[in-house]
């Protein structure tokens, strides 16, 4: 479903690679947590899967496509198979909940009839029935994230990428969002989620991929946020100082 082969990503103007020879395979229907300190390369990996960026070296295959070879004209059609959710929701503030979700379908050319069937369905699925005509600023953070998730899955993508979807939410609301993501995963969608939330990772006991300084240091099925199996710190790797950083995209 997703395969990274020796993928290295060095951003222009930086010396240290954001991803350093990462190899990883994610199978269909899996639920994968990406964990690691700030700047360890989680968002960079998700962006590469989305083909928002190209690797400096190495090959990436997503849904059977070699992303190094896909023509730029085909990228929009490739992206229709992926759903994305972000920490900051990224809703359109001047559109209602319904219109935000419908927008996704409109821009990929779905018919009016399809939209009027699919949008209420997906809003009910994320637990937002009755709030279709609200604007984003009339919703709580958790509800806004549900709208974002509804938008990401309304087109029934095979893969859902979530970059710290609970980063702005309190623990209870976060658990609600996780329940939703688990349900989406149970329906067959592969879910990859980058997170700093130890509680969630420990609770769900799913596959955990840990990055340190752009390298995969752990890939554990049914793991927690911090492993018990192997020493966490490897001596040859410098762990970047954790702390608030700017410039995350």
């Amino acid at each position: 479903m997703i395969r990274f082969d020796e993928v290295t990503k060095v951003y222009r103007g930086t010396a240290k690679p954001a991803l350093n020879s990462v190899s990883l395979e994610v199978l269909s229907g899996e639920f994968v947590f990406m964990v690691g300190a700030s700047g360890s390369g989680k968002s960079s990996m998700l962006r590469l899967v989305l083909k928002e960026d190209r690797p400096s070296s190495g090959a990436i295959h997503v849904l059977g496509q070699d992303l190094n070879r896909i023509s730029s004209r085909k990228i929009p059609y490739f992206r229709r198979n992926l759903g994305v959710v972000f920490q900051d929701f990224r809703l359109l503030p001047n559109k209602t909940v319904f219109a935000n979700v419908a927008f996704t379908l409109q821009v990929i050319g779905k018919s009016k009839g399809f939209i009027h069937e699919a949008v209420p369905d997906v809003l009910a699925m994320v637990g937002l029935e009755g709030k279709a005509e609200r604007f984003p600023h009339e919703l709580s953070g958790g509800e806004q994230q549900r709208v974002a998730i509804a938008r990401a899955v309304v087109n029934k993508p095979s893969i859902l990428l979530a970059d710290e979807p609970t980063g702005n939410l309190d623990p209870t609301t976060s658990m609600g969002i996780m329940t939703l993501l688990e349900r989406i995963n149970a329906n067959g969608t592969t879910v990859i989620m980058a997170t700093h939330d130890a509680g969630i990772v420990d609770r769900l006991q799913r596959r955990v991929v840990e990055l340190v300084g752009g390298r995969v240091v752990r890939d554990e099925r049914g793991g927690g946020y911090v492993t018990q199996a192997i020493p966490h710190v490897q001596p040859d790797i410098v762990i970047p100082a954790a702390g608030p950083r700017e410039g995350l995209r």
């Binding site: 083909k51 730029s72 929009p76 992206r79 359109l92 503030p93 927008f103 821009v107 939209i115």
Partner: protein, 304 residues
Amino acid sequence: MRLALVLGEVGQGLRRNLSMVVSVVLVTFISLTFVGTAILLQAQINQMKSYWYDRAQVAVYFCTDFSSVGTCNQTAATPEQVAAVEAQLDSATLAPFIDAYYFEDRDQAFENFQTQFEGNAIASLVTPELMTEAYWVNLVDPTQSQILADALSGLAGVESVVDQRSYLDQIFDILNASSFTAIGIAALMLVAAALLIATTIRLSAFSRRRELGIMRLVGASNRFIQTPFVIEGVVAALIGSILAAGAVVAIVEFFVQGYLSQTLPQTSFVGLDDALLVVPVLLGVGALLAALSANVAISRYLRV
């Protein structure tokens, strides 16, 4: 569905950047008015050229008692010398090139001079004796005056052989220079218009960058993302083009036909039919310019 969505985006973009849109309209209006005027000026010059070149004659001037130019020696050409020139004009070598010719003697030249300079003080100073006798020759091909010059300028009693086109050429050189200046200004203004359209579209894209980001994320095709911006630029430029077309038609209708051709009735001027030929050119240039610069401006937002 999609069409309504695209048109909705276009309307939003136009309203959001109203002042920029107005400046695009004005700049395309003025630059295309220049383009249209330059085209019509060129048409006018060509029209006058063919009109006057067809009427341009070659003059074979004869010596007078006061002339020492050419073969003249301050003695007027004798009737025999005039006859010799006429014989040359009728000869087998020159006749095929000549359409018609006539002789103008001193009295006729004097009369022409008097009508031409009627009311001017110089008219009362000249006498028929001061005038020059001449053959006026219409050539079959007006560009071949050199043949006459070669054959006749050496003959006794001939002062000079003059192609009137050499006077016209100077006038047309000046007119052409002014027309090229207008075209140059028009080109510069078109560049300004293109840059302004690009800037407007970039601004419009910037104010909609959230939507653009989401569109790209959910897999909207490049064409779908581009189209509203291109239409936005084209609509603004087309409004300017239509105004420019109206201005050009109005100039021809009211200034050229209404004023110039009334004041100078013997000259033929460009008419409404020429102006109407220019209109589609202006609309086409405006639309194409806008589409291209909008396309270039927006492509930055589409890069992966």
